[in-house]
Symmetry: C2
């Protein structure tokens, strides 16, 4: 089977124009099949503020009401997605911007109300339809996926980019050896949060349990790690968590960078 | 050769949710190859106003400065495009939203400064690359094209939707018998502007010249008509100007509606 790299970037790359350009320049040098999944970034917050729309939070979680959905559809699906696509085109990488609705690649259902909290227009992925994406890859296209899905009832839904990346990885693992790479602001999972070079190079499932117990892996990293281990269990070839600068070394030069996750 | 319908809708359909839904429901019933090109609509103006960005006009023409480009990229490429795509998906039509940058389908160059007027980030179409679109159509996808192109230097450019529709029609006329349909708020080109039923059913090039002389065709209709005749000269099978409600009668039922243009 052919290799496929699914690479996820977040706000720390998207919000910094020079970092973004450097990352996209590197990405365009990777000649293998690849899919980029991008998150949001602070521009959505800035535009919401500009329009006088306040972020609604319940228990520290953002609620996607109708106005917020408009903003994220505009910013994630329009501004950020097309900025990335046009930049990749300038680097001779034939990118195509997609949401889950485009070609019906990723379906979701509106998150049910839980403990009285209605998250609004937030989607939990229900189906990935790999065939259209496989076609695009065979045409030499590089899909650039925004963190939006749809419910096939006409609604766009705000969806976590990490989850979309792992859902795509799982959905395509029957057709490719999929390598899922989560880029973030650090060089990998750190042994000591105060030492940016203390990267833990390999984490298997029992070590993960151990690191959670010790509190070394905590908070926002836990859902990312859970997503990753679920993906590996479902057939994804490998998951690496690394700095955005390292993708060219990992993929292009086959160097060992970041934290590699494995089951055993 | 197979038939291909390229249908363009503007603000009068997009700005009215019930009209838009009815139109998209009708469109989804057309089983032949089809491409929808959409314009802007007043939501871009509303959002600009909300953000305190004033429309810049020179000689009655809108200037696309950097801030306005962000707005149209968000609104045309994100909000409107994804609203249409997700609605079509709910009608079982497998739509895919595209700008000219996506798959590099339509390239443009920034309009040169003319008589001292810099229109800003406005694109004049230079190349249509039909192969990717042909692939999409063969996959059963319905492209939904936003009025944005790119310059392959990393810039998105604001582009007239009528022009994009005719450029696509010409670019695909080597592979399909293309029928280009411009939907607007009237039933067709009118003999008498005060009588909405006075549709001129057929206009050839010499009649067009005559109607222009008489002032029956004037103002905004002239570039639309010029575009249309250029498209026919370049190989497009037919051009019809009609009301959005009539597409299902024209395509589905083969009825004669609107104004049909021909060379002779």
């Amino acid at each position: 089977m052919q290799k496929l790299y699914i690479i996820k970037i977040g706000g720390n790359v998207i919000d910094d124009e020079s970092k973004l350009q450097q990352f996209l320049g590197n990405l365009s040098k990777i000649k293998e099949n690849k899919i980029l999944v991008h998150g949001g970034g602070k521009v959505a917050t800035d535009i919401s503020k500009g329009l006088g729309i306040e972020a609604k939070m319940v228990d520290g979680r953002r609620i996607t009401d109708a106005e917020t959905l408009k903003i994220v559809t505009m910013v994630y699906g329009g501004l950020i997605n097309k900025r990335i696509v046009s930049a990749l085109q300038s680097y001779e990488c034939n990118a195509i911007g997609l949401t889950g609705a485009d070609g019906n690649i990723i379906e979701a259902s509106k998150r049910p109300i839980k403990n009285g909290v209605d998250y609004g227009y937030v989607g939990d992925v229900t189906h990935v339809h790999p065939q259209t994406i496989i076609h695009f890859l065979s045409m030499g296209l590089t899909p650039v996926v925004a963190p939006l899905t749809h419910d096939r009832k006409g609604n766009i839904l705000n969806t976590n980019a990490d989850t979309m990346a792992s859902a795509l990885a799982v959905g395509l693992s029957g057709n490719f050896v999929v390598h899922l790479i989560y880029c973030f602001e650090l060089k990998g999972v750190l042994e000591d949060i105060n030492n940016k070079d203390s990267v833990i190079t390999d984490i298997n499932f029992s070590k993960y349990e151990n690191l959670k117990e010790k509190g070394i892996i905590a908070k926002g990293m836990i859902p990312k790690m859970d997503n990753s281990f679920d993906a590996i269990k479902a057939g994804v070839g490998s998951v690496i968590i690394c700095h955005a600068d390292d993708i060219i070394n990992i993929i292009g030069k086959n160097e060992k960078k970041g934290t590699k996750l494995s089951l055993s």
